[in-house]
Amino acid sequence: MLDWLSPAEWEAVRLSLRVAFWATLFSLPLGIFVAYALARWRFAGRELLNVTVHLPLIMPPVVTGYLLLVAFGARGPVGGFLESWFGISFAFRWTGAALASGVMAFPFMVRAVRLSLEAVDPRLEQAAATLGASRIWVFLTVTLPLILPGIIAGTVLTFAKGMGEFGATITFVSNIPGQTQTIPLAINLLLETPGGEARAARLAALSIAIAAAALVLSELIARRVAARMGRA
């Protein structure tokens, strides 16, 4: 089974899973927070935040990658700061691939969570407050469970995006085997290599299988959540 793919290709699969996992893990709480702020709070700069979050969706991915390179590269303002103060480096490493995937998937996460937040009846949250729940408890015990379907949808989208992001990743962190060469980058390289088509097809099939499995899993969870709330 294991020799179905070459070690280099397995490396790409493992790397893709790792990149998608960390991109999802970090954008989940941040995405919920930003979605909550956009849906519920009125503040100066709200529209600016909204546009910024959605930029990666409408800009060419290469531009997003370029901006990440400028900001988070070793000599970029943010990258340099993180490098010298925390020893965190994004340049030409898998962490950079995760960052690029996370940024590209962020609008999907925020939109999914925000849509379900806007469907939550604020009168239920009021009821919780009259029963003694403070703001944070209202969020944890009422709001969060009610937006679970949106969170699941956002998580799956982010994970799928993490598995498949190409443009921003290759621009930001290049195509380095074992570091930044995720499945799509590996497929791209194989297609440019004479005789690589068969291996490219195998990787493509594998990435379809992973994406489909993630989708099926999320559907199952969403159905269970809906059944629990008596709507199924």
């Binding site: 009846d121 009168r123 239920l124 009021q126 009821a127 919780a128 407050a129 009259t130 029963l131 003694g132 729940a133 403070s134 408890w137 209202v138 015990t141 009422v142 469970p145 009610l146 629990r228 709330m229 008596g230 709507r231």
Partner: protein
Amino acid sequence: MTLSVRLRHRLGAFALDAEFMAPPGLTVLFGRSGSGKTTIVNAVAGLLMPDEGRIVAGDRTLLDTKRGIRLKSHRRRLGYIFQEGRLFPHLTVRQNLAYGAWFAPRHAPRENRDRVVELLGIGSLLDRRPGALSGGEKQRVAIGRALLSAPRLILADEPLAALDEARKAEILPYFERLRDEVSIPILYVSHSATEVARLATTIVALDAGRVVAQGPAAEMLADPAVLPTGAREAGAVVQARVAHHHADGLTELDAGGTPLFLPRVGAPPGDTLRVRISAHDVILARQRPDGLSALNILPGVVQELRPGAGPGTIVALETPAGRLLARITRRSAEALRLEPGSQVHAIIKTVSVAPLDIGGGGAGVEAAGPNGMSHDGTSVRPR
């Protein structure tokens, strides 16, 4: 514990300027829609911050804008029963009931959960989710959830308005039991004459954001000068004891020594009931009529006549059963030469008393005293 409320709030063209006291028992905030009832309840609950005001529940100040006290909703400990229930759809009935109790302070006096479950008859629903409950069941669970949060005060905002007649009849007795068996004061918003008559121990009548009258329920309902429900829906509440269930489907009540026949009621002999007798169901006669199909003929003395804007007039009379109101035409009043002191007979058709107007419990009615005429100028306070 007494709740005292003083509020000023402006919302567009609507101005609220109200002051009232809710003593222990069930206080009904009564008025048309738009009179400011819900605004007041939301201000008491902390869901709305009024421009100015002071709300004190017992020894706890919930709001005092002058002293800068604005307690957050979750720190007020009030059990709010909403019109639409507002149960948490992701939690079971059991978890909904436990929700408020979980946030209540450890030492707060609490109701026993099993007792509340039994009182509301929701024992068989505990493992269901709100999506699988009927409207009436949801509202019973909502009552239980509020009750179990160890509240200082229970607020209810038209809790029956979203239900059909049958469901209303199902829920009303639970509020009566709440009033009679639980010592927590209740502030209840309603615009239904039936609910006021059955539930209120105190009435605060609102109109256009102002308190137009407040006082003990029996006095307020029988006073033609107040008529919180309006002339059309006027009706007095009499207290009567179940004497006997007859085989022909009638129940005989003992109302101050006079028999009062009603369609069969469920209460066993010996129980005390509150019966609302609608003013337009009472006919007056100068002589005791003979050969009449109506079973209930009560002798009485006219106390007061209050002509209305239309052709009608409201007559208040004192009978052995208590104070009654009759709505007759001015023409009839003149033909019968009615004036305070006139001897009359009040005729009430047995079947005209609606089942919804017969309620359990006697709380509040006795507050008016045997003649229901304890006016001392403070109970009714027009502003």
